[in-house]
């Protein structure tokens, strides 16, 4: 098994969705990391492809930061194997570091320096010189929409501006793989949209791949090609959003009305393929794998009883529900 994996390199073609063929950018098997007795990452397996945006969706303390720290060379795994761009993370870290960039959760900025000086410092360490360096800095400032503030001290920036600069530093080396660790925390909706646009543009322009760590399921849904449901250091499932919803989600019927009694609830519960029925705050919540068929029956009984429906809704399930189903807990409290 390990021999096979070691042989995999970025030229191995993997067929996804039938006709499109893509190169593998990350491949991990049994990746683990402990801090003392505490296991932060438990034998994680996953693969991702060039040009793909993979969401890593998990609550606080799930081990998201620990996992991407291993991929970026900050932490050495205790067990397992991984390659990035075909290079072994244990042996060829230097090659990996040139093609990967980590945008850390904690702002990696020097507050005493200007935005320009920060960018120039990191550009220097990426070995950029002269005209190319100037171009890249310019591009990063553009992306962060910070041109006007280039010569201002970062310490005087607002939280959102700092976040944007933090992200912009990550594109200086035109990475093949970007590891974004909750890059939108504390960013206003407008800036967040701008960041999303930028990420999408980088993906399409440079065929860049992104691991996007978040505990906002909306972000994972809108931005990511595939999402890994991740908790307690374990990938519970990894797939595109619609497949995840199909596999683990249920639509839910929500009917708002007064005077619902126990007998009605019992009646609905006893219908075929009904998973659960709850009456909370004058609203009846009904889960079923055959929701359309059941809806007709439910509405008929309500009409027979002469009850008045004040609101009616079929709610699509979301990743939050998938997460709840897979882990038994909510993404956020």
């Amino acid at each position: 098994m390990s021999v096979l994996l070691a042989d995999v390199d970025q030229n191995d073609e993997i067929h996804v969705g039938g006709s499109i063929s893509k190169n593998k950018i990350v491949s991990a098997t049994g990746l683990s990391k402990s801090f003392g007795n505490f296991v932060a990452v438990k034998s994680v397996d996953f693969e991702m492809y060039e040009g793909e945006v993979l969401g890593l969706l998990g609550p606080n303390g799930a081990g998201k930061t620990t996992l991407i720290s291993m991929l970026s060379g900050v932490l050495r795994p205790d067990g397992g194997k991984a390659t990035v761009g075909g290079h072994d993370i244990l042996k060829d870290l230097n090659k990996i570091k040139k093609m990967v960039s980590l945008v850390p959760q904690d702002l990696a900025l020097y507050m005493e320096l200007t935005a320009y000086d920060n960018l120039a410092f990191f550009a220097n360490l990426y070995g950029l010189r002269g005209k190319l360096k100037k171009e890249r800095i310019h591009e990063a400032l553009e992306m962060a929409q910070l041109h006007k503030y280039a010569n201002k001290k970062v310490g005087s920036f607002s939280g959102g501006m700092k976040r944007r600069l933090n992200l912009a530093i990550g594109i200086l080396n035109h990475p093949k793989l970007m590891l974004l660790d909750e890059p939108t925390v504390g960013v206003d909706p407008q800036s967040r949209n701008h960041i999303f646009e930028t990420i999408k543009k980088l993906v399409s322009d440079f065929n860049m791949s992104v691991v996007y760590t978040t505990h906002y399921m909306e972000e994972a849904e809108t931005l990511c090609d595939r999402v890994a449901i991740y908790d307690q250091g374990t990938v519970l499932d990894i797939d595109d959003t619609s497949s995840l919803l199909q596999k683990h989600g249920h639509k839910q019927l929500e009917i708002k009305m007064k005077d619902v009694d126990e007998s009605l609830i019992e009646k609905i519960k006893n219908m075929k393929n009904v998973d659960s029925v709850n009456y909370i705050d004058e609203t009846l919540y009904i889960n079923s794998s055959e929701l359309l068929e059941r809806t007709e029956e439910v509405l008929r009984i309500i009409r027979e009883k002469g009850l008045v429906v004040s609101k009616f809704n079929v709610r699509e399930s979301n990743l939050e529900d998938v997460f709840l189903k897979l882990t038994g807990k909510k993404l956020r409290d």
Binding site: S72, V74, L102, L125
Partner: protein, 416 residues
Amino acid sequence: MNIWNMAAKDLRIFLRDIPGLVYLILTPVIIIAIASFALSGMFTEGEVEQFSIPIVVEDQGEVTDELLSVLKETPILKLIDTYESDDGKESLMTRKEAQRLVVDKKAAIIIPKGFSENVKNGENAELIVLTDPVDRVIPGVVTDVLSQYTSKLSMANVVNSVGVTAVQSIVSKTQELNGVTIDPTNEIATIGEQSEHFTANPPVQVKVEKMETSDKARETTPFESNVPGYAVMFVLLGTTAAATSLLEERERGTLRKLQTLPISRLSILGGKMLSNFLTALFQMFVLFLVGHFAFGMWVGNSILGLITLIVATAFAATGLAMLIASVCKTRAQASGVSLLIVLSMSALGGSWWPLYIVPEWLQTVAHVTLTAWSMSAFNNLLIYGEGMASILPSISVLFGMGVVFLFLSVRMFRFN
């Protein structure tokens, strides 16, 4: 190259930190000035400091008058023989007033009634010195001055009485044997003259000669010891504070980012060392330049030696600072530990006072500190005017310490 990029970033941050710069340069300059001017009396000759001493004169007579004139000519003493009484009038000093003044003046002299008479008659004559036991200097000085005079008086008295007794005994025996009358008045007068002559010109004397220890006649000022002393202390304080920026980078998360860049961990630490070292060098050179040009500190006979020593000291200080930053977990911890280490090293190693005044065993112990090696070498250069050869052992030890400290810090620093 990466090391330089890392260091340049730190230096850029450092240059923007104006209060930090002030602390680095201005504080030591102020402390050096205060310490040096406070001690200047102990070093500069010419204008000798005077002690004001109350004197109570209860006696009248020849000897007392002479004693008073001698004391008045003693440059270190300024006699206070009157005081202002409650009604605002100037009165002659009394015992009571003198006792009150001792608290302030640390010593007082009393010439009791009958002093002259007793000296003349060769009887027990006493002078009284009132002292405040708390002070260690002034009572000693006053007692010394008086003892010198009284021993001269005693000498004259003893010679006189021994001589006169001998002459009289010979005269009386000769008269008895020969039955003649002899008048010894002339001989006795001669003895008196001779004893007075020897009192004025004692046959045994201490003669103090000033040696010229260097080519140029030069007087040591407090600055030759205080500038290096405080420069070493403040460089240690400065570098240990600067090195904690390494911990700050870990706490803030920039260190995590740096580890994802295509640079080695050694160049991350190397950059920190380099910026620390350059900061330390800058601080030391500025302090020595200020010492020389503003305070007139002598730079010794070997400029090359001085520069080498400054470089060696800055290097060792950098090593120590990096080691402290590597061993400590948080910045607060590091500043506490630094302060403890730097202050004890400064006291022990001779930043504040010369090492030769402490007990010998402590001098030996002190050489575990880099301050002791550095300070003894600075003393060799700036106080004794010695050359490069005399400081080579210290320089080797300082560079050695620096290398060991840096090696340990690289081994012990935890990146995550």
